[in-house]
């Protein structure tokens, strides 16, 4: 009795002392990292040390405190909360708080000073350029998602049969490794225009003039210029779809396919009645993932046209409002709308994921 009592005191005292020490050490470290004067490399090393050891220390200390609680039921109730708290804190600070704040300032004026009610939303729904952005985002959503997903699926099924499968897949996957900005710069050269009669440096116009046509300024004329921009995204995303579909297609049991063939199914029937239903979950996941990627499209438009010539998209317009016009209210209103547009896709995606997991 006496010994356990003394041990408890030691434990308490030790934890308390360590907590105080840890607090001051961590505080000093943060100040050191934040200070502009401290050498960059050393600051980075300290940050690394704090990141690893500090977090470990925090967990260890909280574990110490928890385990010193004498009541078993309370201890067991608290333990998971303490361990999950940092994750929630991080999510809260970097995800939940900005999201809520964005919604909040979308009801304020340009400098977030005066409450303006729904004025920003009224602007967003009446401005003709934003209307074009909504229309274009819808077009992007339908066209890019459907083309990229079906092309990815088709390629996955087709290359599954050939000998040089991995090489073919590598080539199609390659654009995925390029950043959207890099890809856009490449495509600028593809679409480059020179006056008729001059040597065409753009690939497409070189082909067109070689065939006897007049050079076309591809990204100048709506609505076709939107397709020219979408082609870039399709070029980039198809590889992603193909890779995942390829793995899924290989997962379709051979027995199933063989059985279908024995029953007299033709290639198309095998594809539509065996393969597709079997990988339905994957198709939904890939489609919603691509959909979310497409809804957020920004870099391609920013680099190619920055929204001129009726190619505006919501994310680009949001960027303009925030950083060019410094109108935080309108920018946030657009962000909120974009967020609302993405939520359904996210829900479908998560539901599907949960279902796939329970099926396993």
């Amino acid at each position: 009795m006496d010994i356990t009592y003394r041990r408890a005191i030691w434990q308490w005292g030790g934890s308390l002392l360590l907590t105080v020490v840890a607090f001051f050490v961590l505080r000093w470290c943060f100040q050191f990292i934040r200070n502009d004067e401290s050498p960059r490399l050393l600051a980075a090393l300290v940050a690394l040390a704090v990141g690893v050891l500090g977090i470990w220390l925090v967990y260890w200390l909280s574990n110490q405190w928890i385990s010193s609680i004498p009541f078993t039921s309370l201890r067991e109730a608290l333990t998971p909360l303490v361990f999950i708290a940092p994750a929630f804190l991080l999510l809260g600070t970097y995800l939940l708080y900005p999201a809520l704040n964005t919604i909040y300032i979308s009801f304020f004026d340009a400098r977030s000073k005066n409450f303006v009610g729904l004025a920003n939303y009224r602007f967003v729904f009446t401005d003709s350029d934003v209307h074009i952005a909504f229309r274009n985002n819808a077009m992007w959503m339908v066209i890019v998602t459907s083309v990229a997903v079906s092309a990815g699926l088709l390629i996955a099924v087709l290359v599954n049969r050939i000998r040089l499968e991995s090489i073919a897949k590598s080539f199609i996957f390659l654009p995925m490794a390029i950043s959207a900005v890099g890809a856009s710069v490449i495509w600028r050269f593809v679409y480059a225009w020179q006056p008729p009669g001059r040597p065409q440096i753009g690939l497409l116009n070189a082909v067109v003039t070689a065939l006897g046509g007049d050079p076309v300024a591809w990204y100048l004329y709506p609505p076709w210029n939107n397709l020219a921009l979408m082609a870039i995204m399709i070029w980039m995303v198809t590889g992603f779809c193909m890779t995942i579909f390829s793995a899924a297609v290989k997962n379709v049991p051979d027995e199933l396919v063989e059985a279908a063939r024995i029953d007299g199914a033709k290639e198309f029937q095998v594809f539509f009645y065996v393969t597709i239903p079997y990988i339905r979950g994957v198709i939904i996941t890939v489609s919603t993932t691509v959909l979310i990627m497409v809804l957020k499209v920004f870099d391609i438009v920013y680099v190619m046209t920055r929204g001129h010539y009726d190619t505006q998209v919501i994310a680009n317009r949001m960027y303009l409002e925030m950083y060019r016009f410094a109108h935080f209210g309108r920018g946030s209103a657009l962000a909120v709308l974009l967020f609302l547009a993405i939520v359904p896709a996210m829900i479908v995606n998560l539901r599907n994921l949960r279902r796939v997991e329970t099926e396993r």
Binding site: L90, L220, F325
Partner: protein
């Protein structure tokens, strides 16, 4: 059990490592400029005076070595060669004072400065490219009013009032104009121009006659490259503004900028008519309107002859910095020169449209004050003026410092201007000046909307 705790702890550690690894990396888009100081530049450096004298208090104290060892950061729009030359202009100051002045330039300055100022991490000094942002930061209380410590009498001696007015908000001075530019000039290939027997037009009618003569000779008069990514549109707004100064009194221009008259005032429509007379004529412009909208602003090669053919176009209206974009080996003053964009209506004299780069101060420390004062003196511009490609709005900069004819001529045009006005689109609220005005001009030129509709839409977009 124990092992599981260790496993989860190490997992947390890895996550933490990733988080911190993402932390202290510098903003990726900022381009750090290392400064190779040209040899000829070091020669012009005058040794620091032994006794601290001069009209500016902090500059004198800095030269006495009071702030040696401190550091001042400047963030701005100068990139590439401009950044090197700006940094070179700061070297004499650094040598005389022992203050380390670090310049960073970024093409995305206008975005990043807002982010940095909002995040409470602004540079000591910002080098802007137009007064609009100075106004925004001045009104937000982020910039330090310069009249609180600078010698205003000296400033009034060195700068004409309109430069000071442009950076004065709510009765306080927030910016010093470091570099000036004139936009009312037209570049042409000098030797070929003379060979072809073309004379420099002094009036609008002469200009139109010259254009028709060129067309009759099978030449294309203009190159109007305007494609500039998200900035596409400013070349056209510059044209409209330049013409407006020639067809309307300057008061109309001022009222238009301040929105005291509607944006679609008949005078503006008239000015656009003159612009359309040139830009909408396929015979006058290389590549026609498609060429205007798809050719990069800095594309000047067409102005010069090649081995096989003469110039593809004979005139280009662009500001004084365009020689930086001339093809390898082509020199301003030799291969190409400029003339003053001729007046239209005689009664409005010789107006000049121009621009300038103001410098503002975010952090108030004595060494920062010293840098600001240095940049306001002729001395602060000396190195750059002498290396060329730079026109100082500072009246006390002697004309002999300009080492090339082109810079001096621009200095003269600025000096002889009957009317000098700042680029209107830079002074309007950004959602108009860099938003609907640019976009409207692009739509107009692409033939998507007529003059009246475009002007009406811009008028409607003006923030209430």
């Amino acid at each position: 059990m124990n092992r599981r705790i260790w496993a989860s702890l190490s997992l947390i550690g890895v996550v933490a490592m990733l988080l911190t690894a993402c932390g202290p990396t510098p903003t990726p888009q900022e381009v750090k400029v290392t400064v190779p100081v040209p040899v000829e530049v070091t020669r012009v450096i005058t040794p620091a005076p032994t006794a601290p004298v001069g009209p500016y208090e902090h500059l004198a104290r800095a030269k006495a070595g009071e702030f040696a060892g401190t550091k001042v950061t400047i963030f701005g729009v100068y990139t590439g060669e401009d950044a090197n030359r700006f940094s070179a202009a700061l070297v004499p100051f650094e040598q005389a004072t022992g203050i380390d002045v670090e310049f960073e330039g970024s093409a995305d300055f206008e975005t990043l400065i807002i982010v940095r100022a909002e995040a409470g991490n602004p540079p000591d000094i910002a080098q802007f490219s137009q007064p609009g942002l100075v106004k925004k930061f001045a009104e937000d209380g982020k910039l330090v009013p310069l009249d609180t410590f600078m010698n205003m009498d000296q400033l009034k001696k060195d700068y004409i009032q309109s430069w000071l007015d442009l950076a004065t908000f709510n009765g306080h001075l927030y910016g010093i104009f470091y570099r000036a530019a004139t936009k009312s000039i037209v570049w042409y290939p000098t030797p070929q121009f003379q060979e072809a027997g073309y004379a420099i037009p002094k009036t609008w009618d002469e200009l139109v006659a010259l254009m028709d003569k060129m067309v009759a000779n099978g030449h294309t008069p203009w190159c109007i490259p305007a494609e500039h990514g998200g900035g596409t549109g400013w070349v056209i707004t510059d044209w409209v503004e330049d013409v407006l100064l020639r067809t309307a009194p300057p008061e109309i221009y001022d009222q238009w900028v301040k929105h005291e008259i509607p944006f679609n005032h008949p005078e503006i429509e008239e000015a656009m008519g003159y612009v359309a007379q040139i830009m909408f004529n396929e015979k006058y412009v290389y590549g026609g309107r498609q060429g205007i909208l798809t050719t990069f602003v800095g594309q000047t090669a067409e102005l010069f002859p090649t081995e096989t053919e003469g110039p593809r176009c004979w005139m280009m209206k662009q500001a004084g910095w365009i020689p930086a974009f001339f093809p390898e080996g082509k020199k301003a003053g030799v291969d190409a020169s400029f003339f003053y964009f001729p007046p239209i209506e005689e009664k409005y004299g010789k107006p000049v449209l121009g621009g300038g780069d103001p410098i503002g101060m975010f952090n108030d420390r004595p060494e920062v004050r010293a840098v600001m004062e240095y940049l306001a003196t002729p001395e602060g511009a000396e190195v750059w003026v002498k290396t060329g490609g730079f026109i100082s709005p500072n009246r006390s900069v002697p004309l002999e410092w300009y080492t090339n004819e082109m810079d001096r001529l621009q200095g003269e045009i600025l000096k002889n201007a009957d009317v000098f006005r700042f680029d209107a689109s830079d002074m309007m609220p950004p959602e108009v000046g860099t938003g609907t005005f640019w976009k409207g001009m692009v739509d107009w030129l692409a033939g998507r909307k007529d003059t009246k509709t475009v002007l009406q839409e811009i008028e409607a977009s003006w923030p209430k």
